[in-house]
Amino acid sequence: MERTAPTTGHPTIPDPVVLDRDGLDALIDALRGDGYTVIGPRLRDGAIVLDPVESADDLPWGWIDEQDGGRYRLMPGDGNAAFAHTVGPQSWKRHLYPPRQTLWTGRRDGRGFTVDTPTDPAPRQAFLGVRACDLAAMAVQDRVFGVTPHDGRSAGQERFTDTGYAARRAAAFIVAVNCGRAGRTCFCDSVGTGPKAAGGYDLALTELPGAELPGRGAPAFLAAAGSAAGAALLARLPGRPAGAEDRAAAEAAVEGARAQMGRAMVSDAGPLLARNLEHPRWAEVAARCLNCANCTMVCPTCFCTTVEDSTDLSGDHVERWRRWDSCFTVDFSYIHGGAIRQSGLSRYRQWMTHKLSSWWEQFGTSGCTGCGRCITWCPVGIDITEEARAIKDSEGRG
């Protein structure tokens, strides 16, 4: 399936329609009928996670999340919205770039050995509820994994494509959701990635605000196609043509989210950090940092992995696996003779400067899309926007 660039106004892209709850159900049904596993937001373990959904009933109707540094709580919202929550503990990288992947397996074969690489086709996954920050994160990882070209110096550049990622990415059907609400750790607006999806989706939904107000209207979603596949699917769904007031309500919902951003990233964080590598703030944050790696695990763009070998007891069968790793582990920077980044300070600085600064040189963009997960899911609530601002403010004082 080819996904086109943003295609607003493209002649083959039909006008948006309004879907009700049955329409949303029909969307999930249609995707499942087309052989997709639909993965979307649902309640589990005190959070809204990204798991398979079988119908619209599985969505977290009426639930919202309250987030802050090191804190996430679910609570009933004011109305009965399906997507009034913001981003949860997981990102879509879990499904595009799984935590554990088999790279190859080997078998002893007489005096030699044979090597097999997995040939399973990429799973057909439909992602329901992809927010603008996470679409931006997919675009970031597309550059990292050599799927799309970029302006950075990294040698990837489509010459060394991660074929597994590329196949899963190409097979995925993406239903974006424009945010109608922002959390206290959201800052997509300040990094220019949201709260409205700018492209890279097959369909985009905007939940119309009626459903969020008690007793005011049934759930309704403005649905717009962003690709030919999205347009074809939309044509099969029971919706009514969107009127001017629907579009205005959708725009107002997104602008409402924009006005609610709980945090903001300072401008020009890249050069700021690059010229402050010896700033005393690094020692202060290192004293608080658990170097537990949660920030990198939840980050939708962090892509680092390690390679692990397993054998059976006889040594006749071996497997090589790739597993998510983190620049916060000591082993991550291990080279002959020892690990380069022994101190927590050097590991935190590596993560933050890579994310906001050296990522530009490497891949031509920032590595941060403003989703705020690293702030919420840091057990001690370290805030990347606050750390950047503290360094910036100190320059102002200096």
Binding site: G70, Y72, P99, R288, D312, D316, W324, T329
Partner: protein, 265 residues
Amino acid sequence: MPPNHMARKRPKLAVWKFSSCDGCQLSLLDCEDELLAVADAVEIAYFLEATRVAIQGPYDVSLVEGSIGTPHDAERIRRIRARSKVLITIGACATAGGIQALRNFRDVDGFIRAVYARPDFIDTLATSTAIRDHVTVDFELHGCPINKAQLLEVLNAFLNGRRPVVPPHSQCIECKLHGTVCVMVARGVPCLGPVTQAGCGNLCPRFERGCYGCFGPKETPNTAALAKQLTALGWGDAEIANAFRSFNADAEEFRREGDAHERTE
């Protein structure tokens, strides 16, 4: 029958017990599906929990469970070390002194007088200490009890001459790889996961409980920063001291954090 294991000399495996509850060596018997393969790959030369047969050393691999708690233990571990090519300690007792290391923080003579009718029968050291404190150890496998998959991995790595895949990173990484939602962030449940080594299969967080630290300190743990957060979540010093003083109480980083909170009581 494939001649594979007949053709090569099987390494001799010995399993030794010191001050411990036997739970870690039980993990080897608990391997069930893999146990026959293990018995096929190694010659079980000494493993009293499984067999009375005791074959003379030297041994290619010794698995050592338990801590050093008596003068006899201290002497015996030296003899075992001398007869073992590779010595691997298994479990919190062997790697950190175990729960019985709680006595390291108190007056042992007082305990003996309080507990035993004939204190003069008791010949114990004042401390319970890790095997590492007495002899050279080739590899330490953490856990109370150890994880059987990790035990198999260590044996497997030894048999195949490679490095065991037993990462010293945080429990948090294990939770995130499994997709377990963080109990501390989402529920405000105090958890030692951020300072504890992974390996248990994130047993407690999967059931909405905080990590008890059974696998001991991870690499470079920042226990002071975690303790500050535990305070913010409502724990007092006594609770924090108790949390760090359990199965791995005498592991250096946990001991220091426990001390820091006991002093301020």
